[in-house]
Amino acid sequence: MAAEKSGSHEPFDMAKLRELISLMEQHGLTEIDLRQGDQRWQMRRGPTEVMQMVSPPAYSGVSLPLPGPIPASPAPTAPASAKADDGVPIKSPTVGTFYAATGPGDEPFVKVGSRVNPETVVCIIEAMKVFNQIPAEVNGTITEVLAKNGDAIEYGQPLFRVRLG
């Protein structure tokens, strides 16, 4: 707004703001709300508790001491891989059954160390009797195979890891 520019009070003194923000972090403040005349400075910081409420722990039911069978939900996407940073995942574009090779006894499409380009078929996901060939979609080297023959695969589940390049 034009009015804001007018005169000696230059909107928002960045030096002060910078200082306030660093004070907030330093002293663990979550909120500042300053008003004077037509000015209002309001700042909020990292409400970690709200975050917990926003996304309740996935499958928290699993932690219940159920006497019955424990719901065996498949693990959500990211596997607890020690090599989590060793490349990008190739994720399943559909839900179905994983096959590493064309048939039993055949060589797998790819192994750790295989070079792939975007068109390289890395596996088959069977869905409704249809065998979907899954392309790598990236250039690189397979660093990890995350699924086994016959595994039930859900949408978005990582199947391989690829070091790009």
Binding site: M53, V54, S55, P56, Y59, S73, P76, V95, G96, A127
Partner: protein
């Protein structure tokens, strides 16, 4: 009986099906979109598979993904819930062609009753009353006048290709009928390139009354009495109850029998709902069949004591319904209200967000069906229903008192809901006296709400 069922839905109805299965000792496979990952109800299923991104067209509506999940989940049957694929005859057919039972009617019955023209033809044969009107298109003014004379004014002129109110006219006498015919034909030609129109009796301020049906594969078709769902906004039901508080006993019984005749004529099985409109003289007219479980099924469960979702599963597994018509009671009065994450003050705009505080009603007479909890985030992707509050008491008066106190106890913070509106409705004279119709909310209630609210207007 099935050992394992896939629940092809989300939210409260997915939880409802999981609950039914758990009580029957059947394992469940849930599916979910990325938007629903981590929802608590998924942890109650035995397995859960992500089938796609948030958009329903890329997940809950993708037949091949659901069938794939059913295959890897190794289920014998799929429960479709309501909405999504529940009335998709093609989906039902695909399921069965994959040797997976679709928990619902045969796709043939679904198609027959899903098509309005064929449904009306079956109704006619089964002597179920239809809204009186012309036999097909109107060819001349004189024919129109003759039809109107026969069925009585006011009459509704409708475009045969119509929709959304276009090409519709109400006529109260021969003069307005003649003028209306021309105008409707022109409008219809313009909108649909089809000037064909027909006549129907215009039902003023109708009530919406529907009959719950259960039919098995052994020739049994029963009604579970009626539900009055007249309180609607833009055809979205807000309040549903059983029994109807206004229909005379003889009409209720007739209506329920008519519904049974209709589903028998269509060889319909499983649960379904036959919808009627009822005029101010208690004449009822068949409208359509909903070939699935409905949102408001709990009110019928409460007055009859019959678990509808369990019954659906038993019927699909080939079991015989274990009762006779005369053994289905209608005890007390049940009322359901829909708690939606909407802001009635802002034109019922959806109100997504996180529930920061939640106090649920409880105690005698209260049932609550919901998948939400304090900390749950309602996303913008699906419908706004966050729960159904259902009360059941020996009399309608007591049920309304219970509804009022339950709504007063109910506190949701962080999002806007229909709770304040429902509190208001529960205290309206017109509602308490049963003097409402499908136009009531938009015609009477909402206009009063644009004014600043009076305080304490019970």
């Amino acid at each position: 009986m099935f050992q394992r069922i896939l629940v092809a839905n989300r939210g409260e109805i997915a939880l409802r099906v999981i609950r039914a299965c758990k009580e029957m000792g059947i394992e469940t496979v849930a599916i979910f979109s990325e938007a629903d990952r981590g929802a608590y109800y998924l942890s109650l299923a035995d397995e859960a598979y992500c089938i796609g991104p948030a958009a329903a067209t890329d997940s809950y509506l993708l037949i091949n993904r659901i069938i794939s999940a059913a295959e890897i989940g190794n289920v014998q049957a799929i429960h479709p819930g309501y909405g999504f694929l529940s009335e998709n005859a093609h989906f039902a057919e695909v399921c069965r062609s994959c040797d997976i039972e679709f928990i619902g009617p045969s796709h043939e019955a679904m198609q027959k009753l899903g098509d309005k023209v064929s449904a009306k033809e079956i109704a006619r044969q089964a002597k179920v009353p239809l809204v009186p009107g012309s036999d097909g298109l109107i060819n001349s003014e004189s024919e129109a006048v003759a039809v109107a004379d026969r069925i009585g004014y006011p009459v509704l002129i409708k475009a045969t290709a119509g929709g959304g109110g276009k090409g519709m006219r109400v006529a109260t006498d021969p003069a307005s009928l003649q003028a209306g015919l021309k105008a409707a034909a022109v409008e219809a030609e313009k909108a649909f390139k089809n000037s064909g129109v027909y006549l129907e009796k215009y039902i003023e301020r109708p009530r919406h009354v529907e009959v719950q049906i259960l039919a098995d594969h052994h020739g049994n078709a029963f009604h579970l009495w009626e539900r009055d769902c007249s309180l609607q906004r833009r055809h979205q039901k807000l309040v549903e109850e059983s029994p109807s508080s206004t229909l005379p006993k003889s009409v209720r019984e007739e209506l329920c029998k008519a519904a049974v005749r209709l589903v028998k004529a269509a060889d319909y099985t499983n649960a379904g709902t036959v919808e009627f409109i009822v005029d101010q003289d208690d004449n009822y007219y068949f409208i359509e069949v909903n070939a699935r479980i409905q949102v408001e099924h709990p009110v019928s469960e409460l007055v009859t004591g019959i678990d509808l979702v369990q019954s659906q599963i038993r019927v699909s597994a080939g079991e015989k319904l274990p009762f006779k018509q005369s053994e289905i009671p209608c005890r007390g009065a049940a009322i359901e209200v829909r708690i939606n994450a909407e802001d009635p003050a802002q034109g019922f705009r959806g109100s997504p967000g996180t529930i920061t505080q939640l106090r649920l009603p409880g105690g005698p007479g209260v049932r609550f069906d919901s998948h939400v909890y304090q900390g749950y985030t309602i996303g913008p992707n699906y419908d706004s229903l966050i729960g159904k509050l259902i009360v059941h008491r020996p009399t309608r008066e007591a049920a309304i008192a219970c509804l009022q106190r339950a709504l007063d106890e109910f506190m949701v913070e962080g999002i806007k809901t229909t709770i304040p509106l429902l509190r208001k409705i529960s205290r309206l004279e017109a509602f308490r006296n049963g003097q409402v119709d499908t136009t009531f909310i938009e015609r009477v209630l909402l206009p009063t709400m644009t004014q600043p609210e009076r305080e304490h207007d019970r």
